[in-house]
Symmetry: C2
């Protein structure tokens, strides 16, 4: 089947990431989508040094892409409301499907755009517009479709969360951290949209609509930024058992929908309170499911591209699949499953926690260390719990570096054979999850 032909409008950070992900993961994505996805035309006024566009035609006239009859899907990654809006409306008028990461455009002009798309029978997908790579729109729109959603609360601006995290962890001032964030490229030269909450309000407006089934109403969102927060407030909050996060909150009440972005004290033991740095997370409370949380990178080239490309796959799956099997049962097309083997556990690489009962006498540790060393197993740390000695036996706890399980099994058997070691060794695997 002929590949789907995608036109990328805007080859900046996200556009470049989208191009690169589509190239690097082309085979994996085609196994899922059931059809190749090719970038046939790019509109960009600047070269993106992160992308090797090869033979792909590049124009500085975005409408050359939008009006290119060979392009099936327009990916709008320009940003802003002006040119981006024209691009999207013209693409729809041309009968093309649209994927966009543009939260401002959707929050402000979404009602009009969706009406036009419905009239033309095309899709407009915008997962990347909220919380970057976290599939939060899909989760609420489809995964929680059984629920009356009670509320949504999210850390949906990474720059703001980075600033608040640094203020709390390092006692730094708002201005100091903002300057660093700008130097690191987390914050724009004009940081108003981030620190005054406008960006979060755009995203919250979208979340509220898909949670509650109301039209997009960005103009009714209450928005308060983090510029007035002091380290004193951050510390007092901590003393009271709270953390300050810049949250977008949408709540359904009998009287109406609350739609508000502002600094918020939340109990320090909530998962949301422990989302730090530039990461995003959204909590959704549904009447059937209860509380759920979705966490991940809310910005950046490839995390955002992850959502853009997922939307492209959704469109492609709808375009090409048997309607009764739009999404394959096991995510990949049945004829594209891989025979990559499942490893026997002996072949698994992991670190270990070992608990031994050792005779309380000199030299035992040396013998244990020698056995591990001979098997190529490095020790990360050792605790001997002298104070817990019982019947002449001292608990000894070791953490090792990563090693193949087969090697560890031999080492354990050898250690258990030592006269100085009593009983079986307790072995628990250790994972850093990073």
């Amino acid at each position: 089947m002929k590949p789907v032909n995608v036109g990328i409008c805007g080859l900046g950070t996200v556009g470049g990431g989208t191009f690169n992900v589509l190239q690097r993961n082309a085979a994996e994505i085609a196994r899922r989508a059931g059809r190749g996805i090719e970038v046939g035309h790019i509109a960009s006024r600047h070269i993106n040094p992160a992308c090797d566009v090869g033979d792909t035609p590049v124009t500085d006239d975005v409408f050359a892409v939008v009006n290119n009859p060979d392009i099936d899907i327009i990916v709008e990654l320009i940003g802003g409301y002006t040119v981006a809006r024209e691009v999207v409306m013209q693409a729809i008028a041309n009968g093309k499907h649209v994927v966009t990461a543009n939260k401002a455009l959707i929050a402000v002009h979404g009602n009009e755009i969706f009406q036009a798309a419905s009239d033309k029978g095309v899709m407009v997908a915008f997962e990347a517009s909220v919380a970057g790579g976290i599939p939060i729109i899909k989760a609420i729109r489809e995964g929680l479709a059984a629920n009356q959603i009670d509320w949504v609360a999210g850390i949906i601006n990474g720059t703001g969360n980075f600033i608040l995290t640094e203020m709390r962890e390092k006692g730094r001032t708002f201005d100091d951290v903002l300057a660093e964030a700008q130097a690191l490229g987390y914050a724009e030269a004009d940081p108003t949209f981030d620190v005054e909450g406008t960006d979060a309000a755009h995203k919250l407006t979208i979340l509220a609509s898909i949670a509650f089934g109301i039209p997009l109403q960005f103009d009714k969102a209450y928005t308060e930024g983090i510029t007035r927060l002091t380290t004193a407030d951050v510390n007092y909050a901590e003393t009271l058992g709270y953390r300050i996060k810049h949250l977008g909150i949408a709540r359904r009440t009998e009287q109406g929908v609350e739609l508000r972005v502002h600094p918020t004290l939340i109990p320090a033991d909530r998962l949301l309170a422990n989302v730090n740095g530039v990461m995003n997370a959204v909590m959704v409370q549904g009447d059937a499911v209860g509380p759920t949380l979705y966490y991940g990178a809310g910005a950046g080239a490839e995390p955002t591209a992850s959502a853009v490309v997922a939307d492209i796959c959704d469109v492609v799956r709808t375009l090409t699949s048997d309607p009764n099997n739009r999404v394959p049962h096991l995510a990949f097309q049945a004829n594209a499953l891989s025979d990559h083997p499942v490893l026997p556990v002996d072949e698994v690489d992991t670190a270990y926690y070992l608990r031994l009962q050792a005779q309380d006498q000199p030299g035992v540790l040396a013998k244990v260390a020698t056995i591990l060393s001979e098997r190529g197993i490095n020790i990360e740390s050792i605790m001997q719990m002298e104070a817990e000695a019982q019947g002449g036996l001292v608990p000894m706890i070791l953490l090792t570096h990563r090693v193949k399980e087969a090697s560890m099994n031999v080492a354990i058997a050898d250690i258990e054979d030592l006269e100085d070691i009593a009983g079986p060794i307790m072995r628990i695997r250790v994972e850093q999850l990073n």
Copy 2:
């Protein structure tokens, strides 16, 4: 348009929850799915006192439902591999779509079931089979479709996590907590599947297939339970900066796919380490998106029903919508958006943190408390930071109970008018997120 007719096979905990969610949220669900969803036939050998089935016909012959020509979608909530398998295969043979929560059935017989479903052009949806109400299958299968998935690691058995949480937080023994879990109904009378890891291995098998595009291979999963863990190990891990969690881990390596369920030490500051009690969470690492995490209730009547009903909606949307607009842009059908108003922020109800600069003299607190009390605002706690007095001004921090913002604004203006209070009051909203 005629409602879709659903047959529920098995009216136990999850079946009852599914019936109740479909009834209670019928209007909300129809606004999303674009079509009513009705339960037309139920198979159950026992009355479920949690359900008022009204006029819905109930039979104790499950095949009467499966062979009922009026039923469009069979919801299999019987569990196990025997009758459940016959039900699903017969439903497929009859050309009906299937929704199931049955992890054992999918992990062990999924390859055969999906082949049959593809041959007949029907859908088999199984979101509820892994991690209850968390839409983790949809997230990996669709939301992360752009990624090479590197690994998946999850707390996917609530009973096991409840036991480990109690062991850590209260120093209780495994046997003691298990007995309580059984009494509370979290654990089965025969807890083997939970505590030996079989249940988690079923779920991990499914996650690995949709993450890596490999056939279901439950027989190759390595499974180790939590029965040998001692409180000593839990405490030593804590001393080392780790927590012990019962994880399912699937990792792609060059050599093959690791597929393993076992107790695991993970750093205490990871979000996954802070998922407690019966809650589930799954981390997914993709090459584009980086780390993501999905959290929620992994079991229970309505959380599991949330996933079952979401699958029903997916099927209905596929059956009934314009293929170009299978899922509405804003989750709800465009003609079903609500005019429920967005509340002005004055009408929002929330708790507050207030920071005042007060003259260091008697009676100030009483005046502040009186103003708040007159506006019906209850004080939750007060801190006066005498040690931080500067220029005769003492910082005073108050936490209030929930109140309408308009009332708080008047109270703040009145307090700022007090002679004993210097400068503007810092006001930050407080949310418990529960």
